[in-house]
C-alpha cells in the first residue's frame, strides 16, 4: 500500500450562507495545513464555523471561495474540480462522528468492509481489509458481532476502522470523544494518533472537549470564521496505555 504523502491544505476558504441582507459569512478566511500522520485539533466557540468547515472539507456543502488540496490533488479551487463528490467522499475522506453511527443491520466486519465494497472491491478483499483494520484497532475478536452487542468504546473503534477502510489521505472527526468519559476519550485520541502514524493519514479533530485538548501538538482556533494556528502541548504519545 502506498501511503499518502501530502495530507490536506486549505487556503483562503470562505463560505457564505444565503444571500443579500440575510447572508451569513460562516467562514471568512480559513487556512490550514495538516501533514500525513498528523492529528490537529480544531477548536472554537459555538457558531464560529467548525461544522461548516467540516462540511466543506467533507464535500457535502460547497464553499464560496478558496482552495482545498487533498493529497496531490486540488479538489476545490473557487469551485469543485471533480465531477463526482460522492466518490471523493467514499475513497478519499474518512468520517468519524460524535456517535459511532454504525449501520445496525450489518455486523462489525461488514460495517468496515462496506466502504471498500462501495468502491468496487470484491467482498472477500473488502472483508480481509476490514479484519486487518479491526485487528489494528484491537476489536478483531468482535468481528462477527452486531454493533448493538458492542460497548460504546468498541463501537467508536469500529467507526474509526470504517473511516480508515479506504485508506483516505484525511479523516474528519466531529467531536469524536464528546460522549465518552475522560479515560475513554484519551484512549480514542491515542488510537487516532496511532492510526495517523500507522496509515499516514492527516486527521482533523473538531472538539470542545477540554480533556483531549492537551493531546494535540498543533491546534487551529477558529473564531468568527477565521483560523489562527497555535502550538499545543502534544501529550498524546505520553499517555499511559488505556483501553477504551
Amino acid at each position: 500500500m502506498t501511503h499518502p504523502t501530502h495530507g490536506i491544505r486549505i487556503e483562503g476558504l470562505r463560505k457564505r450562507y444565503g444571500e443579500g441582507d440575510t447572508a451569513v459569512d460562516a467562514l471568512k478566511d480559513v487556512n490550514m495545513q495538516v501533514a500525513p500522520g498528523e492529528v490537529v485539533g480544531l477548536i472554537g466557540p459555538s457558531g464560529s464555523g467548525k461544522s461548516t468547515l467540516l462540511k466543506c472539507l467533507g464535500a457535502v456543502i460547497e464553499p464560496t471561495a478558496g482552495r482545498m488540496i487533498l493529497g496531490e490533488q486540488t479538489i476545490y479551487d473557487n469551485g469543485w474540480t471533480l465531477p463526482d463528490l460522492r466518490a471523493l467522499r467514499r475513497d478519499r475522506i474518512g468520517f468519524v462522528f460524535q456517535a459511532p453511527y454504525l449501520i445496525p443491520f450489518l455486523n462489525v466486519t461488514d460495517n468496515v468492509a462496506l466502504l471498500p465494497m462501495l468502491a468496487g472491491q470484491k467482498n472477500a478483499v473488502a472483508r480481509a481489509r476490514a479484519r486487518e483494520l479491526l485487528a489494528a484497532l484491537d476489536v478483531a475478536h468482535r468481528a462477527e458481532a452486531q454493533p448493538s452487542e458492542l460497548s460504546g468504546g468498541e463501537q467508536q473503534r469500529v467507526a474509526i476502522a470504517r473511516a480508515l477502510a479506504n485508506q483516505p489521505p484525511v479523516i474528519l472527526a466531529d467531536e469524536p470523544t464528546a460522549p465518552l468519559d475522560s479515560e475513554r476519550a484519551l484512549a480514542v485520541m491515542r488510537i487516532l494518533n496511532q492510526m495517523a502514524a500507522q496509515y499516514r493519514t492527516a486527521i482533523i479533530v473538531v472538539t470542545h472537549d477540554e480533556k483531549i485538548i492537551p493531546t494535540f501538538r498543533r491546534i487551529y482556533h477558529i473564531r468568527d470564521g477565521k483560523t489562527h494556528e497555535e502550538a499545543g502541548e502534544g501529550r498524546a504519545i505520553d499517555l499511559a496505555p488505556a483501553h477504551a
Binding site: S51, L54, K55, G58, V60, I61, R86, A87, R89, R90, D91, F95, F97, Q98, Y101, I103, P104, F105, L106, D110, L114, L115, M117, L118, A119, N123, Q146, R162, L172, D174, E175
Partner: protein, 397 residues
Amino acid sequence: MISLAGRDILHAWSRFVLTGMGLGLLIGVTLSMAGIYRGMVDDAGALLDNSGADLWVVQKDTQGPYAESSSLRDDVVHSVRGMPGVARAANVTYFTMQVARGALDVRAMVVGFEPGLPGAPGALVAGRRITRSHYEAVADVKTGFAVGDTLRIRRHDYTVVGLTRRTVSSGGDPMVFIPLKDAQEAQFLKDNDAIVNERARSAANPAFNRPGIPGLLDAITDSQSSNHNVNAVLVQIAPGLDAEAVAEPIRRWKHLTVFTRAQMEEILVAKLIATSARQIGMFLVILAVVSAAIVAFIIYTMTLGKIREIAVLKLIGTRNRTIAGMILQQALGLGLIGFMVGKTAATLWAPIFPKYVLLLPGDALRGFVVVMAICALASLMAIRAALKVDPAAAIGG
C-alpha cells in the same frame, strides 16, 4: 457488494415476518375472492355441462330456466322432437327449495328429469340410477345426504339411491334429482291446508258446484292440484349440425325462446353472475388499496427509523440508486412474504368455504404481479423521503 436490503430484513425479521403475515392474510382474502368468482363461473359451466343440452327451449321472451322463471306446457316437447336436427329432447323442471334432512334442512336445487334423456344426472360417485318412477332421488354429495338416506320434499319422502359430484345450480346450491312427475307435482303442490281451503272455496262457488252437472267439482279440484307445466325443454342436436341453425326454426314455428350453449353462458356469466362479479371486483379494489396502504406505511416508518443511517450511508458514498434499491427490495420482500402466506392461506381455507372456490394458477400469477407492483408503488413515498436526506445531516450542526 452485499445486499443491504437483505441484511436489514434479517436484522428486523420479526417485524418483517409479522407484517408480511398480516399482509399475507389480506392477500389470501383477495385470492379467495377471485377464487369465489372463478368458482361461480365454473359452477355455471358445470350446470350447463351437466344438463347435457345443446339447446334450451324456454317460455317465449324469458331468459329461463336459470336466470328467470320459465313455464312451458309439458307437451311442447313432442313438437320439439319433431323439428329438424333435433336428436333428443326432454322436459325438465328446476326449483330451489329447502330440502329436509332430518331435523335440519339444506338448500338445494330440485331437478325433475326424464331418465335416459338430457337433464338426467351424469356420472354417479356412489349408488345407482333411479329405477322406480316415484320417490327415488339422486343427490349431490354437497347436500350431505348418503345413499339410503331419506329426504323430504314437500309432502313426500324420497330415498337417496345415488350421489353425484359438482352438480350445482348457478348459485352454487347442490342438486337433488327426482323423477319429472314427482317434481311437477312438488313444484306446484300445495300443502294439505291449502288444498282443503281451495276445495272448500271451489265447493262454495255456485259456478263450480252445480247439482245438475255431477263430476264437475271433482274435475275442477283435480285440475287445481295436478300440473302439466315444465320449466324448459333440453335439446340435443344431431351430430355435425350448427346449434343456431336448429334453434332458429323452433323459435319461428313454435313461438318459443331458444338459447344455444354460447347464449346460455352469456346469460349465466354476464348477467346472472355480473352483480356478484362487480361486488367481488369492489372488494378486490378495496383490498388492493388497503394492502398498498399497509406496505407504504410499514416501509415508510421503517425508512424514517433509518434516516440517520441513510445520511451516514450517503456521506460515505453510497449511491442514491443503492439506497432506493434497498427500500424497493424491502417492499418487494414484504410482498413476497405476503404473497406466499396469502397463497398458502387461500389454499388451506378454500375447502372450508361453503361455495366452490376455484384457485387458478393464472390468477395466482396475476395476483403475484399485482402485489409486487403495489409494493413497488407503495415504496415510492419511502424512497422519496430517503433521497431527500442530506448527507450533511450526518455531521453535527
